[in-house]
């Protein structure tokens, strides 16, 4: 039970952040707060993926002391010394997609405010029912 909590405490943090974001998306009334909840949700997933790439005793995935191809003939690279670079690569793309989504969502909020005059969800639903 103890190793469940101590050896894997990073997953507890990410699940906590996930649930904060999920609750904010469902329960809050203001559309801007829902957007912030979606952002928190997305960053929790990015942190989870990046933490998968960690490796005990490994260093940053940049091979030092080499410039270009010509210094590399005598260098043997062991995969044990370097952390996993693949989650970092995938999350670079994910962060940029998150930026694009947030930008478009904010533009949509401006259009909604211009049309309905409010950003509260229940008032907008009442306007729609009329």
């Amino acid at each position: 039970m103890l190793e469940y909590i101590i050896a894997k405490y990073n997953y507890w943090i990410y699940i906590f952040l996930l649930m904060i974001g999920f609750y904010a998306m469902m329960a809050k009334n203001n559309l801007m707060k829902k957007l912030v909840g979606m952002n928190i949700f997305q960053w929790a997933i990015i942190f989870y993926f990046v933490s998968i790439g960690a490796k005990k005793g490994g260093t940053v995935p940049i091979i030092s002391g080499v410039h270009g191809h010509h210094g590399a003939e005598h260098l043997v690279v062991h995969a044990v010394d370097y952390i996993n670079p693949l989650p970092h690569v995938l999350m670079l793309t994910a962060i940029v997609v998150g930026l694009a989504t947030t930008g478009i969502a904010l533009a949509l909020l401006i259009v909604i405010y211009r049309r309905y005059g409010t950003l509260e969800e229940d008032e907008i639903l009442e306007e729609l029912k009329k």
Binding site: V60, I62, H67, G68, H69, L92, V96, G103, L106, A107, I110, R114
Partner: protein, 152 residues
């Protein structure tokens, strides 16, 4: 940022700071091969310099330095550079984005041709990211109505 608020200290400091931010963004772009960095990171820093200009000075200053027509051209130019390098590799007999075949026209061996091909595409990514981030910021800050804001 719509009406100018004259403050000597902030304006002087930012006037010194903005060229250094732009040079730093180019440094991050070029050193993407040897240290953390690359196209996306450098593009964000370059865009941050224009955002700083819009915050400290008027919005008119930011639009004078980087007009909307130039913005539109830069947005498309980055994607075009990326795809053009891919097409060039296709024309030279390899697969799409197979930078090793670029050694037929550049005087390097195939391994270093991949190095230089990567540098080229990161430049394209930086240009697009910079232009799009400035464009999104200006549109969101003025609610789309650039002309009404400039009339004040």
């Amino acid at each position: 940022m719509v009406k100018r608020h004259e403050d000597v200290i902030i304006q002087t400091v930012c006037r010194c700071l903005i060229p250094y931010m732009q040079i730093y963004s180019l440094y991050v772009l070029v050193h993407g091969h040897g240290s953390p960095g690359g196209g996306f990171q450098g593009g964000c820093i370059f865009a941050a310099s224009f955002v700083l200009l819009a915050i400290v000075y008027d919005l008119r200053e930011a639009k004078r330095r980087f007009s909307e027509k130039t913005n539109g051209v830069f947005c498309a130019l980055g994607v075009f550079i990326y795809t053009a390098i891919g097409w060039l590799c296709l024309l030279l007999g390899g697969n799409f984005l197979d930078y090793g075949k670029l050694s037929k026209i550049f005087p390097t061996d195939p391994v270093m041709a991949r190095y230089y091909g990567m540098a080229g595409i990161e430049t394209g990514v930086q240009i697009t990211v910079m232009a799009i981030m400035v464009s999104i910021f200006l549109n969101l800050a003025t609610k789309g109505k650039h002309e009404e804001v400039l009339e004040e």
